[in-house]
């Protein structure tokens, strides 16, 4: 707790206000205040993330996007919220009452809880878990369960099909995602996110290009976004697992989806882009901008990248998606882990010099480019063969 300056400063203020015997109340009050700030900041960022996404997506398609409500359409998220609240909350007769109620709530909860371990400034975070990265990959798994609950509880075959796809895909993509994080953890020597940030003398995007690639691809699969959004493929499944949700339930599902983007951007900037620190200069130099500005800026940058990907890539087929996870991303993540481990074995020094770091950068980039070239060559050769063989069977002549 000593490194958490935000917490200790707030706690001192509360202790000054309350009598000596109520120090536990001051502790609780501090915790709840930080939770309030964090959750509200996340929700606001999510709401205006939807606005930003729609505007940027519009510009990608040479349209304007929403610009009617308020100045520059800035109040559009509020208008959407108002509309969703006013709408009738329908529940199909075939729906399972409990799971149908539980699914959106669980989705939003599992999204909100993750933010607890993400440090957004020097010494400002809610909790510095020593297994922070494990928490990061473990908690969003609840979202998978809640997606299946929603799909199953809707009592609708489209919803169930979408949920089945979602579960198959999310569980597959968790494997390369976690294995790609192993390289980062080996370099940082800790699972605590604060220590991961402090260990980045160079941003890990330079030291771990392959891990970054694997992580960003599997993260965009994890949050059900294009090109991996086939669990809610409109052309096949109406809307996938949230076909039957309406009103504020649908609002919660959407909130969870967009909140996931913000969270994933925050995780990406924490793990690969030095979190709250200036990514361009060493941390002991004079800082111009405050840490929180850098963090928000990186989050917005990654949100823009995800929007860009969504604006460009078409949806993949389910067998391509699964093959990509197991035949491409998983081996790449394994190779990255072994190469990083070998480098750390060669230089077991916990504080490598900059020369050593740049040599590591060179080795890792060579490995990354070589691996990607080999795998694209393999994909090219594989892509020329048909993935599934269709045999034409001669039908017996019709007996008249």
């Amino acid at each position: 707790m000593e490194s958490n300056t935000l917490f200790s400063n707030l706690n001192e203020i509360y202790l000054g206000l309350l009598p000596e015997s109520l120090s536990w109340a001051a502790f609780l009050g501090t915790g709840f205040t930080i939770i309030l700030i964090l959750v509200n900041a996340l929700l606001m960022l999510t709401a205006f993330g939807t606005y930003m996404e729609r505007r940027v997506l519009g510009r990608f398609q040479t349209r304007l996007g929403p610009n009617r409500v308020g100045p520059f359409g800035l109040l559009q998220p509020l208008a959407d919220l108002l509309k969703l609240i006013i709408k009738e909350d329908l529940r199909p007769v075939t729906a399972d009452r409990l799971t149908f109620f539980l699914a959106p709530v669980l989705m939003v909860t599992s999204m909100l809880v993750v933010v607890a371990v993400v440090p957004f400034g020097n010494g400002s975070f809610l909790a510095d878990l020593n297994i922070g990265v494990l928490y990061l990959v473990g908690i969003p798994t609840i979202a998978t369960v809640s997606i299946f609950l929603g799909g199953w509880g809707s009592g609708n075959r489209f919803a169930l099909l979408g949920a089945a796809r979602a579960v198959a895909m999310l569980i597959s993509y968790e494997v390369p995602m976690i294995v790609s994080l192993a390289g980062v953890l080996i370099l940082a020597g800790s699972m605590s996110l604060v220590e991961v940030v402090e260990a980045q003398r160079l941003p890990f995007i330079l030291l771990q290009p392959l891990a970054f690639f694997v992580f960003i691809v599997s993260a965009s699969a994890e949050m059900n976004r294009s090109p991996f959004d086939l669990m809610e493929a409109e052309s096949e499944l109406t809307a996938g697992f949230h076909t039957e949700f309406s009103g504020m339930r649908f609002g919660l599902v959407q909130l969870a989806e967009f909140g996931e983007v913000v969270i994933t951007s925050a995780i990406l900037s924490t793990l690969f882009l030095r979190g709250w620190e200036n990514p361009f200069i060493p941390s002991d130099w004079q800082q111009v901008l405050p840490a929180q500005i850098w963090f928000i800026g990186k989050v917005l940058f990654f949100m823009f990248i995800f929007t860009w990907i969504r604006a460009t890539l078409p949806r993949m087929r389910i067998d391509q998606v699964m093959a990509f996870a197991w035949k491409v991303l998983f081996p790449l993540a394994l190779i990255n882990m072994f190469v990083t481990a070998a480098l750390v074995v060669v230089w077991p020094d916990p504080n490598p010099t900059y020369t050593q770091l740049w040599v590591m950068v060179g080795v890792n980039w060579t490995v990354a480019i070589g691996c990607l070239a080999c795998f694209t060559r393999g994909l090219e050769r594989h892509g020329k063969k048909p993935t599934a063989s269709v045999q034409l069977v001669q039908m017996p002549a019709e007996v008249s």
Binding site: V56, T62, L64, L313, A373, T376
Partner: protein, 186 residues
């Protein structure tokens, strides 16, 4: 091109679109420029030219023009004319073919330029004779090439009086003109 570079190429294409100017027209404030020959849903009708012959009603493929007349003693350019009691155009079923305008022997009926006549009920979508009398006399230049030759634009131009909207020319082209146009011109 090696496999997988298509993604990078596509990303560049979308990025280039990001820098382009949006093509959106903010409708109620801005409008798309209309062609002067646009066939709109309001009609321009010149009471002075109309004789109540009901050719438009006869030629309408949908049969949506309803005309009721009584005899009158007024003089027009050539001959007698009827007094119109009713001139209803049921615009909901109109397909804007313009045959009524082509059929009118006295060039009294012209296509308009409007497109904003959405109404909640179909029964409201009837243009009555009062509306036709009161409407602005800015005819579309469709089937009226002489108006277009005068660079007349219904969106910006002045109202046109009934003397100026006659047929282009009733004089048949001479042999030399026909030959120049159809034989030498090809």
């Amino acid at each position: 091109m090696p496999y997988g570079f298509g993604i990078a190429k596509g990303m560049l294409v979308t990025l280039r679109n990001l820098a382009r100017k949006p093509v959106t027209v903010q409708y109620p404030e801005q409008r798309v420029e209309q062609h002067p020959r646009f066939r709109g849903e309001d009609f321009v009708w010149y009471e002075e030219r109309c004789t109540g012959c009901a050719s438009c009603a006869k030629y309408c493929p949908q049969g949506i023009i309803k005309i009721v007349t009584t005899p009158s003693g007024e003089q027009t350019q050539e001959g007698e004319k009827y007094k119109l009691e009713t001139f209803d155009i049921e615009i909901a079923r109109c397909m804007f073919c313009g045959l009524c305008v082509e059929a009118c022997p006295y060039d009294a009926l012209h296509m308009g330029t409007g497109f904003e006549r959405a109404r909640p009920r179909q029964s409201d979508l009837v243009i009555t004779i009062e509306e036709l009398k009161a409407s602005a006399k800015r005819p579309s230049t469709w089937f009226r090439p002489q108006l277009q030759n005068k660079k007349y634009d219904p969106a910006t131009g002045e109202e046109v009086s009934w003397q100026d909207v006659g047929r282009e020319s009733t004089v048949a082209p001479t042999y030399d003109e026909m030959r120049k146009r159809w034989v030498d011109g090809r």
